[in-house]
Amino acid sequence: MSNSFQVVVCASVVPDPLQTLEPVTGPNGPALKNEMMLPAILDPWAAHALYEGANLVKQVAGSALWLVSMAPKAKLQQVMMTVAQKVPLQLVALDGPSSGFADAHQTATALAVAIRNIPGLDLPRLLLFGGWESASRSAGVTLQMVGDELGIVDQFQGVDAITPQDDGSFEVLERIEGARHQVSLCAGPPAVLGWATGSLGEPRNNPQVGMANMRTIMPALQRAVAATISSDGLQYANVTTPKQQRQTRIVKDVPADEIASELVQWIKQE
C-alpha cells in the first residue's frame, strides 16, 4: 500500500530505575558496578516509541514494525522476555554495550548499518522511531545521527503524537518550551521521530503475542552482530555519584495550622 509505513524503533536497555547505581573505572573507562547483574528494562522513552509505533502499524494497513536494539546479548534476551509480550515486532539485535558512557557517534553508526541491512526494508517508507533521549546517556543525539547517516532530513524530537493524513503526509506534535507543542506537517516518510511519552499507556502482557514474537526473537538474538564501540578520543576525567543524602527533619503530630504557617513563611522567604 502506497501510504503504508515501515517503522523501525531504536531502543536500548537501561538498568531498572529502582536500582542503586555506582560508577567504577574499568579497563575501557567508566562503567557501573555489577553492571551485568543489574536488572534491566527497555529504555523508557524508547518503549513509548515502540508502543506508538505498534499502534501506528495497526492503524495503517500494509505497515511493518522492527525493533533494533544494541545491548549485551544476555541482557537483551532478559529484557525481550517481557517486551515480546507487549506488541508484535521483528527484532534486529546488535551485541554491544548499552552503557551510558558509550559514545553516541559510534553507536549511531552501528545502528545505521544494522537498519540498512534489514531485509526488505523500503527506506523511502521508513519512519525511524526512538526515545528523544535515553535514560542512560540522555544525549538525545543518537537518533538524529542515525537519521542523518541514512539521509533523512525531516526529523522531530520530543514527539507526543503522529497523525497520518489521507494523502500520505502526517502531522506531528513536538514538545517545545513553555509546556507547548509545535505542530508540523510532513509530506511523508522518510522521517525521524524521537518520542517523549506519547499518549498510550503500556500495553498489557499478551502471552500469545509473546509466543509469536519469540519464534523470531530467539533466532535474531543468535544472529546478533557484535558491535565494537571504542572511546575514540573521549576521555573521562572523573565519574562520581554526587552526595544526595539530606538531613531530613521529620515533623509529625503537629496540627495542620502550624504546618501551613511554617510552609507559608518558607514559601515567602527570599
Partner: protein, 343 residues
C-alpha cells in the same frame, strides 16, 4: 589554539533568549581562559537586533544565516543553517544553548561536520589548557567530566547552568553566509504551536517554587471516598496564590492514560522524574507522592525540598527532602491557601 563559536537562533522578534545569553557567557569565559578566538553566529528570520545586542562580546567575527526560510523551527533548514555557520567559522569548539530548536539539530550537525557533540553540559572548564565539560549520566544520578580530542566539538549547555552575558548593545553587521535550501528541505511545514488554555497553563519554568502532586490526591481519603474535584480546586488555588509551577509524579499522570479519575490539568508535560522533566527551581514542595528514586532523580536541580506525606517511611524521609511533614495534604494545603490569599 581553539577557535570558539557561539551559535544561536534568534527569537521571533530577532532577539536572543536568556538561555542563549547564558551560553554566550560560558563561551566568553572559555575564550578568556584559553586565550582563544571567538566567533558569534546567528540564524533565524531576523538577526540584526541580536547582533547589535552582543556586539561587545569580544567576537572577532559575526556570521549569520537569515531569511524567511529560517523563521520556522524546522530540522531540515535549521540543520542546513547550523552546518553552514560551523563550516564558515572554522570552529573547533561550538557553544549552543539547549533550546528545543537547537536540541533538534545538533546531533545531525555534528555528524555532517565530522565532529562530536555533548549535550546536557552544565559546566565547561579549562583544565590544563584544554576544555573539559561536566554533564550528568543516568538521568542525573551520576556526574562526570570529560574531554575530547576530536574537533569540532559541539557543546549544548543546559539553561540555568551559567550566568548570562551582559553588556551595552552596540552596532554589528554580521557577514551573511549562504545555506543552500533545495526543495527537499522544505517537505515539512511548521503550522504553529498549541498552548494550553491560560487556566491550565501550570508549567512556569521561572517560578521560585515547584509544587509536585502525587497520585495520593486521587486516592480514597479518610472518609473512604475519593475527592478529585476538591483536589483540583485546592491545587489550582495553591498555584494561583503561590505562583508555583506544577509537576506531577508518573503514577499520577499515567492515571489519565488509564481512564481513571484524575486531575484534568495534569498531563505528561507536567511529569517530573526518570521519564519526565528535571526542572530548575530554588524550592520544591512535594505532596501525596512517595518520593521514590525514579521520581526524585527529576529533583536534582531543586534547591530546598519539603514534602507532605502520610507515610513516615516514604522516600522523602530517607534523605531526599530537607523537611518531611507527616500530615494530610488536603488539610495542610487548604490552610496554606487560606493564609496566602489573606495576604
Amino acid at each position: 589554539m581553539e577557535n570558539i563559536l557561539f551559535l544561536a537562533h534568534t527569537e521571533a522578534d530577532g532577539t536572543l533568549s536568556k538561555a542563549a545569553l547564558e551560553t554566550l557567557g560560558a563561551a566568553v569565559e572559555l575564550k578568556q581562559a584559553l586565550n582563544a578566538a571567538l566567533v558569534a553566529a546567528l540564524y533565524g528570520e531576523k538577526i540584526q537586533p541580536a547582533a547589535h545586542s552582543i556586539s561587545a562580546c569580544g567576537a572577532q567575527r559575526f556570521l549569520a544565516v537569515c531569511g524567511e526560510d529560517f523563521a520556522q523551527a524546522r530540522h531540515a533548514t535549521d540543520a542546513a543553517a547550523c552546518e553552514a555557520l560551523v563550516r564558515a567559522s572554522g570552529a573547533t569548539i561550538v557553544f549552543v544553548a539547549a533550546s528545543s530548536r537547537n536540541s533538534r539539530v545538533v546531533g545531525a550537525v555534528a555528524h555532517r561536520v565530522h565532529g562530536c557533540v555533548d549535550t546536557h553540559v552544565t559546566d565547561v572548564a579549562a583544565a590544563s589548557g584544554a576544555p573539559a565539560v561536566t554533564r550528568w549520566f543516568y538521568r542525573q544520578r551520576i556526574e562526570g567530566s570529560l574531554t575530547r580530542t576530536q574537533r569540532p566539538w559541539i557543546l549544548l549547555l543546559d539553561p540555568g547552568s551559567c550566568s548570562p552575558w551582559q553588556d551595552a548593545p552596540g552596532l554589528s553587521t554580521p557577514e551573511l553566509i549562504d545555506a543552500p535550501l533545495p526543495d527537499s528541505l522544505r517537505r515539512t511545514t511548521v503550522r504553529g504551536t498549541v498552548t494550553p488554555p491560560v487556566d491550565q497553563q501550570t508549567i512556569r519554568p521561572d517560578a521560585d517554587l515547584l509544587f509536585v502532586a502525587g497520585a495520593g490526591w486521587t486516592k480514597k481519603q479518610k472518609d473512604g471516598q475519593t475527592h478529585v474535584p476538591e483536589a483540583e480546586t485546592i491545587i489550582l488555588d495553591f498555584l494561583r496564590n503561590s505562583k508555583a509551577s506544577l509537576g506531577g509524579s508518573k503514577s499520577l499522570v499515567d492515571l489519565s492514560g488509564e481512564n481513571q479519575s484524575t486531575l484534568r490539568f495534569m498531563s505528561h508535560l507536567n511529569q517530573v522524574g526518570q521519564t519526565g522533566a528535571t526542572p530548575r527551581h530554588p524550592k520544591g514542595l512535594s505532596t501525596c507522592c512517595h518520593g521514590e528514586e525514579p521520581h526524585t532523580v527529576g529533583w536534582r536541580f531543586i534547591g530546598e525540598r519539603r514534602a507532605i506525606n502520610l507515610d513516615p517511611s516514604c522516600g522523602w524521609a530517607r534523605g531526599k527532602a530537607d523537611v518531611l511533614y507527616i500530615a494530610d495534604a488536603f488539610d495542610v494545603i487548604s490552610k496554606v491557601n487560606a493564609l496566602l490569599s489573606a495576604r
